[in-house]
Symmetry: D2
Subunit: 255 residues, 4 copies
Amino acid sequence: MITVTIYNEFVHEQEIDSIRKIYPQGIHGCIKSFLSSDENLQIQTATFEMKEHGLTEEVLSKTDVLIFWSHARQEEFSDEVATRVQKHVLQGMGLITLHSAHYSKVMRRILGTSMTLSWRDNDRERLFCCNPSHPIAKDVPIKIEIPHEEMYSEYFDIPKPDEVIFIGWFSGGEAFRSGCTFTREKGRIFYFQPGHEAYPIYYMTEIQKIIHNAVYWCSHNEAILGSSKNILRKNIHAEVPAEVSLSLSTKENLK
Amino acid sequence: MITVTIYNEFVHEQEIDSIRKIYPQGIHGCIKSFLSSDENLQIQTATFEMKEHGLTEEVLSKTDVLIFWSHARQEEFSDEVATRVQKHVLQGMGLITLHSAHYSKVMRRILGTSMTLSWRDNDRERLFCCNPSHPIAKDVPIKIEIPHEEMYSEYFDIPKPDEVIFIGWFSGGEAFRSGCTFTREKGRIFYFQPGHEAYPIYYMTEIQKIIHNAVYWCSHNEAILGSSKNILRKNIHAEVPAEVSLSLSTKENLK
Amino acid sequence: MITVTIYNEFVHEQEIDSIRKIYPQGIHGCIKSFLSSDENLQIQTATFEMKEHGLTEEVLSKTDVLIFWSHARQEEFSDEVATRVQKHVLQGMGLITLHSAHYSKVMRRILGTSMTLSWRDNDRERLFCCNPSHPIAKDVPIKIEIPHEEMYSEYFDIPKPDEVIFIGWFSGGEAFRSGCTFTREKGRIFYFQPGHEAYPIYYMTEIQKIIHNAVYWCSHNEAILGSSKNILRKNIHAEVPAEVSLSLSTKENLK
Amino acid sequence: MITVTIYNEFVHEQEIDSIRKIYPQGIHGCIKSFLSSDENLQIQTATFEMKEHGLTEEVLSKTDVLIFWSHARQEEFSDEVATRVQKHVLQGMGLITLHSAHYSKVMRRILGTSMTLSWRDNDRERLFCCNPSHPIAKDVPIKIEIPHEEMYSEYFDIPKPDEVIFIGWFSGGEAFRSGCTFTREKGRIFYFQPGHEAYPIYYMTEIQKIIHNAVYWCSHNEAILGSSKNILRKNIHAEVPAEVSLSLSTKENLK
């Protein structure tokens, strides 16, 4: 069982009518909805206005993967909670940060750069996969059309990613490293650019697939054989020939 | 089911008594023996003297992971078969090359460098893990003692690896990048230095564990939850609110 | 002094009128022209129809950086010469491959992958720099407009580059890793996508700047201070206190 | 001219007799001494007990490369100054951190991991170069003997380095990634393990050479041709044929 905590600021959806219509249960509600159909995942949610933003030591200590969406309250986010999230990531908790969460305190602390980029609302995106053998790209097409998306453009000030999995093309004339992985100590991090709150991007099957794959990858459980097989690792061993010692003290012993 | 083909030159074991005593069924026999206890793996072997070295188009087209040990007959290895192995790796077949196979035609073609190193027989090695969150290092200790091993030393002329997972320390005063991964198109490659034919290294539990992990990783099936869980990915979906269209044609539609 | 050899196939320019008008001295002539104004560079050219394509052992052994443009005669290129170029790259010769030379025998041998990509003629490109601190990007703008260019698109089947320096955006809806570096043994390689023969791309100041920077980087002479300074490395030393020995045999000696 | 600021805590040298004998002017004094013989470098020093540790906004804004040694006062180091150093690194100031400075606040902030490692005093080290074509390794031997050094061992909890340049071998049985580079926004960082205060390591010619090379690399001025050549980049240009326009509006214009 993989325990997933979805943190969503949950401000825009309550304040802006057009956004509430898209995500009546919040972005976290939408993500919880599609992930819940996988019975291997146990899912809980957290939002900004909860005590400690819902990300208490108790919650994080039981979380395998934290999904994180934020925008309007990034500066008001608790320093203490940001440090706590960083600590758990280093200890092995997976982290998936979405869209504007590139600039969250959590990401700036973990990655240590300014995390700035260029942007412009109301564009059209095509995601290209440039790393098709990565587990996050499993069963994902090389090209995904996102009919409406906020534009994000280079230069994106991040440390060199371990892997760039997706490059975004925007119709207005920009390009962006839209899907990047980072490893920090035991923790795996996936930053994924799509998901402006004003467009129903998290309902797209391909976007759901990528987030679903990322949950497995970030929890160190990235791949399952084919479509209907269960694979269970067994203990393995081999018989050592009687005359051979594993700690033989000289090469001559072999003769 | 993961289909594994173990290629072993199988020359030293037939020609040299002391080595035959260690590996009476050949190195391939030993590796097959310990991997066979995992029922998810279907295993076959191939040796140098077989027709096309046992690596025919038919065999390779059904192989998920090729394990490769070679030394004495590397120059005599068929160019055509080397090219065929390269083609299958690019198409997604996993490749685990062991010890002196760093200098096989297969590796020189795929990686394009000279693959040279320094070496000296009869030393003692400690393997250090410098990438403990990698699937190949799962449940592997940070430090592994190999009481007898041939020394391999830097500078090792390889392309920059995707990941260095193990660094080898040798008592005679050398260090080496002993476990390295490379991705080439769809294929995952793991080069692993331990395994000189004159010492019973492939009987060591930790070495078996690493090769076992690598089989899963190279076949894109790298991780399974915990010790006794089966995880099966399900199809996922989320209900789209009635008033929202995934291909909405203007932002205004949302208002 | 850096010795640069420019290899250009020189077929299209002789066979097609519209292309000859753009490059009356050939693509190699154009590149030689702009590089020649740097007196630190000593430049020679080579073309397909020359004996051994002009890339004899004698020529390559005196070359610090080889610039390479090819397209129509890639399959007819000598296997022996391709192997020779590979050898010199591993020994430290820099290599800059331009545009369709991604698919040259030289590149396929050195990098070991299929080197395939998607393409379509007659598009418009914007180059984005995603690695502004790299020497090849020195004094290069974040965004470069190329009014006419052949479109190249992902998935581009290359090994993971050491660095991705430029991402190309194409108006038809594609994205591409347009500037990538690779290190192989002592050799530095820069692949740079711009330069379809039917458009005057190598006359663009920004493209010339990038190639010029790459000559320095590939020759391991990548950076010079400011605009008018000469920097010369001096031998350095420090006085060792009389009572201190560099090879002191025990810590106690210090007391 | 490259402006170098050397920060040294300067505590051990004042408190412990045996260390003062080795570095009577402090570690910063020794490093300043050998770098000063390069007239391209302008050098100043800073120590812990100075106001703002000598690393004021004014000092850092004029610094091209900051060399940083610290150990005994790492927790007492000012948070504000650590943040200031981070800011300047992101804006392009080079950073060379030595030995125990791996655990400085500056490094933990910039890299975001715990920066922990294993250690033991009084060992012997051999440095192996595994990246001989890197500018920091220019004219540095593949193997360097350090007769006395504190042992540092894996697992070293750092983000994946851009490049691992040196691997350290220790006689007691450990290995370590001893020379690593990181790029963060415009700033280049080199972490270099040698330099325990109780041994005269910074008097070793090879160690001086590496630090000297790193100053050039971190300041984006990494390479100079040969031993006695001055290279000055010139502006370059090429004549555009009269009939060709760089912004030609259709392909047909060419015909």
